[in-house]
Symmetry: C2
Subunit: 217 residues, 2 copies
């Protein structure tokens, strides 16, 4: 069984290594976990010992098959709990992440599977992130950040790539939710910001925000 700290490291490496499972730098992990590089080196050595990561001095870290499985399972739990908090306990979408950070570490195979059943096997969490099934398989989703769309293109908001409360509350203020119809009116060359229509209503969006909104055409 793994400790809470170990699980958080595995999750961070999973998040940072992306689809190609690239090696992740020590500093990147330190930043993600708001800790120091020296602490990361220490922990990586323990995870290497447990065969949960591949690590070569100065060359970065990647997950082993076993480490990957554990990380995906934690992501599964995190996202299922987020759905539970939103759908059953009436939390707002900007409130679920922090509590799920705690709940994801609860250890009980039965709990996860029964929760999944209770929630009717949701495929996406409140931020549009895909929920892996019990075999660790993710539902396929075809989306791209809003910033990659050209003027004139239309689509639907299917997700966000941040779950920071300030960001999510700002989206609420802009009346942007999962499912909102969006059309790019103009891309401002100067600062990469966008003029868009959200459900028919014209709004201006910074590039920083547009990077974190996921669109499906």
């Amino acid at each position: 069984m793994n400790t809470l700290a170990e699980e958080n490291y595995l999750k961070a490496i999973f998040k940072l290594s992306g689809k190609q499972k690239e090696a992740v730098s020590t500093n990147a992990i330190a930043e993600e976990l708001e800790t120091k590089a020296s602490s990361v080196t220490d922990m990586i050595k323990k995870l290497t010992e447990k065969k949960l990561v591949n690590y070569q001095k100065y060359q970065g870290t990647s997950l082993t098959k076993k480490g990957h499985e554990i990380a995906v399972h934690i992501v599964r739990k995190h996202r299922l709990w987020e759905v539970f908090l939103l759908k059953k306990l009436k939390f707002q979408w900007d409130e679920v992440h922090d509590v799920a950070e705690q709940l994801e570490h609860i250890k009980s195979p039965k709990l996860v599977e029964h929760l999944d059943t209770f929630l009717c096997f949701p495929q996406y969490d409140p931020h549009g992130d895909p929920i892996p099934n019990k075999n660790g398989e993710f539902p396929k989703s075809f989306s791209a950040p809003l910033i990659d769309f050209a003027a004139g293109s239309k689509g639907k908001v299917v997700g966000v790539s941040q779950d920071n409360p300030a960001f999510l509350q700002y989206l609420d203020k802009l009346e942007i939710q999962l499912g909102s119809k969006i059309q790019v009116i103009e891309k401002i060359e100067f600062d990469q910001s966008l003029e868009v229509k959200i459900n028919g209503k014209a709004t201006h969006i910074s590039s920083e925000v547009a990077k974190n909104i996921l669109i499906k055409q």
Copy 2:
């Protein structure tokens, strides 16, 4: 904010000190938490520092007002989660305790209150234990252990004073549940065991079991 270990110590002291809030011995705490007396002394000193317990060397430990409040709040969370697991996630009554031991440490005031609302403010957990409300007040309950009842007396099972799975599974086998009607047919002097009728069916029960079944007349 308190650590997981601190919370478990407060809960243990609460459980052991009973209604009169008697001082609890170091050894009793050690046994309850399956740890060593020396570890208990260490922790008690920290809790004294934080003004969560009253402690005098060699004279035992009791909870302060603040310590008592925290302990009751953890008990509240534990029991609400037990209800959730049983009622919503279809756990058996012998399976809920261990998972609730983990869930009781999740920190989110909103989570507890919304869970309580979601469950429609239950007053008792799956073992018949009273659930304190958000002000820390327990519902009054009038029950006594089965072993205290004389031959001929009748009553209803309203609780158990152990949540150890082996004990609960044995009750399942005896077809004893909360709500079961029970009548004491005979008390065996020799070993304090009982002949009883459960929902009309005759059964023999050891004193050890009879101590842990709570009856309301």
